[in-house]
C-alpha cells in the first residue's frame, strides 16, 4: 500500500530504477552526484514525466506511462524539499510555511507556522524574507514548508545538507518524531551514508539512473550485491580470491593466505575466481603480547600504511604482502595503546563469519563509472 516506483527511459536522462517504500518507512536514495536521485523525486512529485514507468502511492496510481495517465502535482499531495529550496522570495519565512496550510483558518495557520518554525529552530525569524536568511536557515524554511503540508508522501532532497552537525542532529530527531506520528512513506535523498544508515529503514543504491540494490542498511553494508554497490557505499576491503582445496577443506586463496569462510564457499566449484568483501568491523587487531578473541581465525600479518585520526576513531590502512589494502577503524586510544604507527608490522584476524562472497562478480580494475 506504500509507494511503488518503477521508471524506465533511455534518454535524455537515462533511468531504470525501481523501489518500494512502505507507509511509515523511510527509504534513503543514495548514489553518486548525477545518478538521478533528484529526477526520481521529481517523477514521484509529478514534476517530471519519464517515457516509461509507473508510480503508485497509497493504492492510487499516480503515473502510468503506458496508459498515459499522470496525476497533476497538486493532487498527489507530496511534501517536497527541493535541493535548491525553491523558497518564494516575495513571502516571509512564516508566509512560505503557511502557503500549504491554506485550508486552515488564518489564526490557526500562523500558529502552526510558528510551531514549525520552532521545530526547525528558527524562532523569531518568521518575519524575514528569504534573501535575509543564511543558506542553512533557508533550507530549514523549505523543510518546514514541506512538513507543514500534511503530505501523503514526504520527498526530501538532501534536506540537511546546509546545516551544521548539531542542528542536523536535532532536525533528524524531529523527523524521527514525525515518523512516529504520521504513517506515510518518506523518501530521503542524502549523501551522508551515516545519516542514511542511522535514519533509513531501507536504502536504495542508484547509479546512472539505475537502482542497483534496495535493502535494509545493515544487510546492505554487510552484503553489497556487487562490487559497484560496495564502491558506491564507500566500502573498501573488496578483494579477489580463488576457491581452492587445502587439507581437504574448502578455502579461499587470497595471495599467500588460505582463508576460512563461514558461508557460501561449498557451493562454488574449485578454481573459481570470486570477489569477496569483508566489513571493517570483522577485522580484529591482535593486541600486543596478549591473545585476543578470534585470533585463530585467518590470522594475517600486515604493515600499517596509513593512520588517520578522526577524533575518537582512528582509521587504519594495512597493506598485505601481495599488495591489497585492508582498512578498518579502531578507537583512537586502542590504536595508541597498541602503538600503531605508520610502518609497524601488525597481526589481524579476518573473521570467517564476516567474509561475504559476492554473487557472480569479479573486481575489474577498469570497472569505473564513466558518467558522473
Amino acid at each position: 500500500m506504500g509507494l511503488r516506483v518503477a521508471v524506465d527511459q533511455t534518454g535524455p536522462i537515462p533511468l531504470a530504477a525501481e523501489f518500494v517504500c512502505q507507509p511509515g518507512e523511510l527509504l534513503a536514495l543514495v548514489g553518486p552526484s548525477g545518478s538521478g536521485k533528484t529526477t526520481l523525486l521529481r517523477t514521484i512529485a509529478g514534476l517530471y514525466r519519464p517515457q516509461g514507468g509507473r508510480v503508485e502511492c497509497a493504492g492510487e496510481v499516480w503515473f502510468d506511462a503506458e496508459r498515459k495517465h499522470s496525476l497533476p502535482p497538486q493532487r498527489r499531495q507530496v511534501g517536497m524539499v527541493f535541493q535548491d529550496y525553491a523558497l518564494f522570495p516575495h513571502l516571509t519565512a512564516a508566509q512560505n510555511i503557511q502557503l500549504p496550510l491554506r485550508h486552515l483558518p488564518q489564526p490557526q495557520r500562523s500558529e502552526q507556522a510558528e510551531q514549525w518554525l520552532a521545530k526547525v529552530r528558527l524562532e523569531g525569524l518568521g518575519e524575514r524574507y528569504p534573501n535575509a536568511l543564511s543558506g542553512g536557515q533557508r533550507q530549514r524554511v523549505a523543510l518546514a514548508r514541506a512538513l507543514a503540508r500534511d503530505p501523503k508522501v514526504l520527498l526530501l532532497d538532501e534536506p540537511f545538507s546546509a546545516v551544521d552537525q548539531v542542528t542536523r542532529r536535532r532536525l533528524q530527531r524531529e523527523l524521527a518524531l514525525l515518523r512516529q506520528q504520521i504513517d506515510i512513506p518518506i523518501v530521503l535523498v542524502t549523501h551522508d551514508l551515516e545519516e542514511a544508515a542511522a535514519l533509513a529503514d531501507q536504502i536504495c543504491v542508484l547509479h546512472n539512473g539505475a537502482s542497483l540494490q534496495q535493502d535494509a542498511p545493515e544487510s546492505l553494508f554487510k552484503r553489497p550485491a556487487s562490487p559497484l554497490v560496495a564502491r558506491l557505499l564507500d566500502r573498501h576491503n573488496l578483494f579477489e580470491g580463488v576457491v581452492v582445496d587445502a587439507d581437504g577443506k574448502r578455502r579461499l586463496q587470497w595471495g599467500e593466505h588460505y582463508l576460512e569462510v563461514a558461508d557460501g564457499l561449498d557451493n562454488l566449484p574449485l578454481g573459481e575466481k570470486v570477489t569477496w568483501y569483508l566489513p571493517p568491523s570483522d577485522i580484529v587487531l591482535h593486541r600486543r603480547g596478549r591473545p585476543s578473541h578470534g585470533e585463530r581465525e585467518n590470522p594475517i600479518v600486515a604493515t600499517v600504511s596509513e593512520l588517520v585520526v578522526l577524533g575518537g576513531i582512528t582509521s587504519v590502512s594495512l597493506s598485505v604482502n601481495h599488495g591489497d589494502m585492508l582498512r578498518f577503524d579502531i578507537a583512537t586510544h586502542a590504536a595508541r595503546r597498541n602503538q600503531l604507527t605508520s610502518g609497524a608490522v601488525v597481526k589481524v584476524s579476518l573473521l570467517a563469519a564476516g567474509i561475504y562472497l559476492l554473487p557472480g562478480h569479479r573486481v575489474r580494475a577498469d570497472a569505473h563509472d564513466k558518467r558522473k
Binding site: 525553491a86 534573501n131 503540508r149
Partner: protein
C-alpha cells in the same frame, strides 16, 4: 479647461488598462511559457500595430468598424449600435493600438519567473490558478506596472487613431489629447500649454504613484 475631455481621456486610459492588462497577462504568459517554432513571428505580429502611422491605423479601423464591414456589422448585430464615433469604438481601437506596450513587458516578466517556484507552488497544493495569483503575479508585478504605465501614458497621448475612429465628439470621443491638438492648431498656445500641463501633471501623479507602489518590494535583494 476642457474637463469633459479630461474625463474622456481618463476613462479611456483607465478602461484600456483594465481590459488590456488581464488580456496581456493571459497572452504574455502564454507566449512566455510556450515553446514553438513560429514564436518569434508571433511576437513580431504583436508589435505590428505600432508600425503603422496612427492615423493610417485609425483609417483602417474606421473602415473595418463600419456597419457594412465584418467587425462593425457583427458588433451592430450584437448591440444594435455601431462602433465608429462611439466610446466603445475608441476603446477597442485603443486596445489594439496599445497591445504591444502591454504584452511585451508582461511576457518578459513571466519569462523571468523561475520554473522551480511554480513547481514548489504546485507541490504546496496550489492549483494553477492559485499559483498564478499568489506566486506568479507578485513576481511579475513590476512588469505589469511597466505595462500599465506605458499603456496608460500612451492612451492619454494617443491622438491619430482615436480621432479617426472617434470623430472628436464632445463628451464621448473627444479626448484631452485631441483638445490640446485643437488648441495648438487654433494658435491658442496658452490654452494648449495649460491643458498640456494638466495632462502632464495628472499623468505624473498617476505614474509616480504606480511606480512608487511597485517599487516598495522589500524582498528585492538583500
Amino acid at each position: 479647461m476642457d474637463w469633459s475631455a479630461l474625463s474622456v481621456s481618463l476613462r479611456l486610459a483607465g478602461f484600456t488598462c483594465l481590459i488590456l492588462i488581464p488580456l496581456s497577462l493571459w497572452l504574455g504568459r502564454a507566449l512566455a511559457y510556450a515553446r514553438f517554432r513560429g514564436k518569434g513571428l508571433c511576437e513580431a505580429l504583436v508589435a505590428l500595430p505600432l508600425v503603422l502611422p496612427p492615423t493610417v491605423l485609425g483609417f483602417y479601423l474606421l473602415m473595418s468598424f463600419g456597419r457594412d464591414a465584418p467587425v462593425g456589422s457583427f458588433w451592430a448585430e450584437l448591440t444594435g449600435r455601431g462602433l465608429n464615433f462611439t466610446f466603445t469604438g475608441i476603446l477597442l481601437a485603443s486596445l489594439i493600438a496599445n497591445l504591444p506596450f502591454a504584452i511585451q513587458p508582461i511576457q518578459r516578466a513571466f519569462e523571468h519567473v523561475p520554473h522551480n517556484l511554480r513547481e514548489a507552488a504546485w507541490c504546496s497544493g496550489l492549483s494553477p490558478w492559485q499559483t498564478l495569483l499568489r506566486i506568479e503575479l507578485p513576481l511579475v508585478w513590476p512588469g505589469i506596472m511597466s505595462a500599465a504605465a506605458l499603456t496608460f501614458a500612451h492612451t492619454l497621448g494617443e491622438f491619430g487613431v482615436i480621432l479617426m475612429v472617434g470623430g472628436a465628439i464632445d463628451g464621448e470621443t473627444r479626448t484631452l489629447a485631441i483638445a490640446i491638438y485643437d488648441r495648438v492648431q487654433a494658435f491658442d498656445e496658452q490654452g494648449a500649454a495649460q491643458m498640456s500641463a494638466l495632462l502632464l501633471l495628472v499623468s505624473f501623479i498617476t505614474l509616480g504613484l504606480v511606480y512608487g507602489l511597485a517599487g516598495r518590494r522589500r524582498w528585492v535583494r538583500g
